[in-house]
Symmetry: C2
Subunit: 341 residues, 2 copies
């Protein structure tokens, strides 16, 4: 039986869903994977931090988080509130980094993940920033420490995308991809098709926690561009930046345009794509009108889709329906199990 100490940075929706998933799968992990675990530390931005080498009570941590109280109460000694100090002090084999995304720099998540790798931990994240802004640096740190940097949950939540190529498509070469990768804009377009205005749709997306208070990162296509950059950086060995992606959001789609599409039996979708052209990769985010014969047509609400063109499989598509924090949490668990197997 192998035992792992786990440290968590970030204990919001995803961090809590991951904690619940760990508790639910505990018996299965020991029976089928010969693996036990203890959470030795949790650090949050606003709700305190706790480190206990003997293991924190995860049920209690969840209750405290639900109540909006501080995790400080669980810590025998005061725990560092700063991420890197926390990582250096927390005795752990794996760090799960789920701090808020910084689209422009990937920080402080990159520093957290690097500190974890340098401290001999596997570094796992659901945060896109470090993949786009720190991939090379973190891959090198992982190689140096003999540990893994993994990030399955950064694109399409817990649906297997990176592990699909890594584990199931050996020797395949990715030529290009097309997909619907931003849940928020897809939900907004689906709501607008029912007659809601843009503002009403954004307000709805905000009310269910899909859109931020400032929705521009989604609406202007930045989140989609970051995902295009992440996929091309990792899967096409082409370190595209989000700024290099030809990007157009959904602000110019009027209710009249959506009506006209409906009259033609079509739908508008925010389509993400990248295509290899010699040594160049052209990345693009732009609205497209799609007919019912397109696999994009049936991807509605918060669902997402990507289709890959490779040298060995002309068309391989992945659909994720009804995602939530639980599906993102599963991506973290899958990374953990693949890192230690």
């Amino acid at each position: 039986m192998a035992h792992y100490n786990l440290a968590l940075i970030g204990f919001g929706n995803v961090g809590q869903a991951f904690a619940r998933l760990l508790l639910r799968k505990k018996d299965m992990l020991s029976q089928e994977f010969g693996l036990t675990f203890t959470v030795t530390g949790i650090a949050t931005g606003r709700h305190g931090a706790a480190i206990d080498p003997q293991g924190l009570d995860l049920e209690k941590a969840l209750q405290i988080a639900q109540a909006g109280s501080s995790l400080d109460a669980l810590s025998p000694q005061p725990a560092p509130r700063g991420g890197v100090d926390f990582i250096r002090r927390c005795p752990a084999d794996v760090l799960f980094e789920n701090s808020p995304v910084n689209h422009h720099t990937g920080q402080p998540a990159i520093d957290h993940l690097q500190a974890a790798l340098e401290a001999g931990m596997h570094a796992i994240t659901a945060n896109k920033g470090p993949v786009v802004h720190g991939f090379k640096r973190l891959q090198e740190a992982a190689k140096k420490s003999g540990k893994r940097f993994m990030f399955e949950s950064t694109v399409m939540d817990g649906a297997p995308i990176f592990s699909l190529f890594r584990e199931t498509l050996p020797s395949a070469e990715l030529i290009g991809f097309r997909g619907i990768l931003n849940s928020c804009t897809n939900l907004i377009l689906t709501r607008m098709e029912t007659g809601e205005s843009f503002d009403q749709s954004v307000a709805y997306a905000q009310s269910i926690g899909i859109a931020e208070t400032d929705p521009s990162a989604d609406v202007d296509g930045w989140d989609a561009a970051i995902k295009v950059a992440a996929l091309s950086t990792v899967l096409m060995s082409a370190p595209l930046t989000p700024q290099e992606v030809d990007r157009q959001g959904i602000r110019n789609l009027t209710p009249q345009m959506l009506d006209e599409a409906r009259r033609q039996g079509k739908r508008w979708k925010l389509v993400c794509s990248a295509q290899r052209n010699g040594k160049q990769i052209a990345g693009r985010v732009a609205p497209e009108m799609v007919p019912p014969d397109s696999p994009f047509y049936s991807i509605n609400g918060t669902s997402s889709y990507v289709q890959f063109e490779t040298d060995v499989l002309p068309g391989l598509g992945i659909v994720e329906s009804d995602p939530g924090p639980e599906t993102t949490a599963f991506g973290l668990l899958a990374d953990f199990l693949n890192a230690v197997k």
Copy 2:
């Protein structure tokens, strides 16, 4: 650099596509996987057999097959024509079994694969019969010999289905699936939607090599039922037989019914499914009318689709578009690379 001797049973469309893929990927396999190979034997039902411990000339074997001549000419000594004798005589590390499918017994492929495992080879097949009729026996033989029994190409050609669960979804529990898994009936329905009769559509499917001379295994839903049985046997630990699948083919779908669906903006699809209900698994193959909002609607021609419901991801779908012998060949290569990695 690791070297592998490969033996091939069956050298039809899939076997030849696999040989071409091996030749095309040769340099990449040595550079990126540190792996070289020699094909030491090929046995066919009608075009002879050849064994050469020094390695057969694969280009020449392809030319002979294209010309419809006998492979005997390549063999320094006469090679056994019978499968099991061939396997015992051929010095190989991996057997690729691509003899024609026997839907009712899985033979002689089961005996071939078992003989290969007993001779210390990995046993890889694109043939569904052994998965449905010999899974337990072959798994046990693989365990005993410390080798692998692999069969990615048996469902949805080379699209990753079995490796998806094995490699990318650790700890996930499969609750049920729904899919379009038989290319032939899907192509027939797509053709009938354009106004062709059932017989015309079958004739077209036969002309491009998708339907057999006797199309009943496809048309009556047997091939679909076998795939339902294969998926539930392997992924749900529920050894369902094709006979236990509640099965209905497409013979009763009239042009009038397809017309009526079209008037409603819908399509008929032959839907395969299985659902866990306590310890029972209910498997089913039956035509369903699907609307454009269903992901099934855009799966046309020879494309296929399956969506999985698991305890951790509520909806994960896999689309395969434009398959051919090359995609099946890739599944064989992926199994090989995963078996020896």
